[in-house]
Amino acid sequence: MLCPKRSERLSAFAITDKQACSWGAFSPLSQACRTGRGTRLLFNTSRVKSDTDKAITRAEEQVLIQRCKDGDICAFDELVIRFQKRVYNFAYGIAGNYDDANDVAQEAFVRVFNSIGTFRGDANFTTWIYRIVTNVYLDERKKAKSHRQISLDEYVDLDENSVSRQIEDDNPLPAEVAESKERNQIVRNAINALPDYQRIIMTLYHLHDRSYEEIADILHLPIGTVKSRLNRARQALKEKLETESELFG
């Protein structure tokens, strides 16, 4: 397959912080915009979330989708390049480990390829993609369950092993980096232990900056259900992290 080589591999759809204070949240305890000015209550690590890549315009997106519908494999090639970071990150967020994220993200793109002909032009493509990744993940989980494959608890165990591997790694890491890596792994394990839908909603809202309306649309759930599940997920995350005494000193 010979598609024109792109001089730069844009991941233009990578997650971007839509605004400085995406939550509009002012904590009375810090009296500062939590996400915007980077005020932190407990930790002082750098936030690596925003992506400076330029976003694709709506018109460009529509042209690209139309070319994909017309069977232009190079257009699909470009679509993968543009969406892979977002899709992979979301798959990782909900699947909880790299291997499953890779499977889910690849399968999601194959499903996009096979069904892009049915995508309605007036619908939101990003929402559609998130929905496909979610469905692929849930389908895989169903399969895994019925085949009695690895359980969520086992994922957590695996991740813990990988933490210890990381910690024992003789690559000298600056102490802060090691600490933040370890903390991220603890948070990752806590998210992995949440029920599927709590984790999916949590990932969409907190890590992919999706609004309640978009999440409701992606998951075909009423907004009220999305809100209540997110609230339960947050409380559950807090409770799980509370047991990690080193996090809260």
């Binding site: 509009g24 949240a25 209550l41 979330k49 890779n102 049915t118 948070v187 995350l237 992290l241 509370e242």
Partner: protein, 333 residues
């Protein structure tokens, strides 16, 4: 404001969506309650830690792997037969969840045939009992390419409900065949009923099926483009089992590509499944109480899996795709 109420409001406060009066009450409570204050700080901190999770990079070969898979998909144009073969393989490896067995739920194995049957008698009441024939004989049905009982049973060894059920639709698309088989030494008694729309329940067949033998029940598709809901009841070791199969007027093996808008408003789960089965052309096996009412729900431009998910979510049921366009649903325990 008490502590429980304050804890409920953490999210609303965080998102700054509280009424001013509530906000004041909440802040006053936090100012006077060290426990809630500490709890909110942890809540806040936990979410900050969550949001600080770094992004990950796809593996270096990710793009190439996706394109290689897509290239393979393009070269092998899927045909109907290929689909069915895939399903066959998949279905044979299904294992019944231990939980379902433990709960005594009907445990079934549903299989979509890998082969296209030679058309057989389409009439209802065609029932083959071991050793004798009741109703319209299905004749040499067993000489078709359908897997023989021995093969069938090998996929059924976990069926503690005593009965294996295999559903296929014939090549003409005018009928479904249910094959019932048993591994147990004792014959399993069964009854089959059908219902279309709001019509009365209609007894179709009953009898016994013994180990190594199988009974076939042919269910014609409805003429009025309705779903035929088939109910299977049987007894096994002192327990009663009951399972519904929603059989659509036109089976569509490719229902995952079909996009439909559909809404449920004050319908029962039964009605919703009837509608989903009919609209997408999918077979749904369901157990449990389906009389529960769904207040509202539905799918917008969704495929069959979206629709099944939408119903299952409202009805508090679990579901799984057994094969392309074949789903199983059961109550969440």
């Amino acid at each position: 404001m008490n502590c429980a109420k304050a804890q409920d409001m953490f999210s609303a406060y965080l998102e700054n969506v509280m009424e001013p009066s509530q906000r004041v009450a909440f802040e006053q409570h936090l100012a006077t309650c060290p426990s809630c204050k500490a709890s909110y700080e942890k809540f806040n901190a936990a979410l900050m830690m969550l949001e600080e999770m770094p992004q990950v990079e796809p593996p270096a070969d990710f793009h190439a792997s996706v394109m290689a898979r897509v290239e393979r998909e393009r070269r092998v144009e899927p045909s109907k037969v290929r689909w069915w073969n895939l399903d066959w393989q998949h279905v044979f490896t299904i294992r019944v969840p231990a939980r379902a067995v433990a709960m005594g739920f009907a445990v079934l194995l549903l299989m979509v045939m890998a082969v296209q049957f030679t058309p057989i008698g389409h009439s209802i009441n065609a029932v083959v009992f071991p050793g004798r024939t009741v109703g319209n004989p299905v004749g040499d049905d067993d000489s078709s390419d359908a897997p023989k009982a021995g093969v069938l049973n090998s996929g059924c060894d976990l069926a503690k409900s005593g009965l294996c059920i295999n559903v296929s639709n014939d090549s003409s698309g005018k009928a479904y065949t249910l094959r019932l088989s048993s591994k147990d030494g004792n014959p399993v008694d069964y009854s089959v009923y059908t219902r279309t729309g709001t019509s009365a329940k209609n007894g179709v067949a009953n009898g016994f099926v013994s180990r190594g033998q199988q009974a076939s029940v042919t269910i014609d598709v409805a003429h009025d483009r309705q779903t035929v809901v088939t109910e299977l009841k049987w007894h096994y070791r002192g327990r009663s089992y009951d399972r519904l199969a929603f059989l659509p007027p036109t089976f569509d093996a490719d229902a995952s590509a079909k996009k439909i808008d559909m809404s449920f408003n004050k319908t029962t789960v039964y009605q919703a499944l009837d509608q989903v089965s009919r609209s997408y052309g999918i077979v749904i096996l369901a157990s449990g109480n389906l009389n529960r009412t769904i207040k509202f729900g539905g799918v917008d431009d969704g495929n069959a899996t979206d629709a099944i998910y939408a119903v299952a979510d409202k009805a508090n049921m679990t579901w799984q795709a057994l094969a392309a366009s074949v789903y199983e649903m059961e109550p969440t325990d």
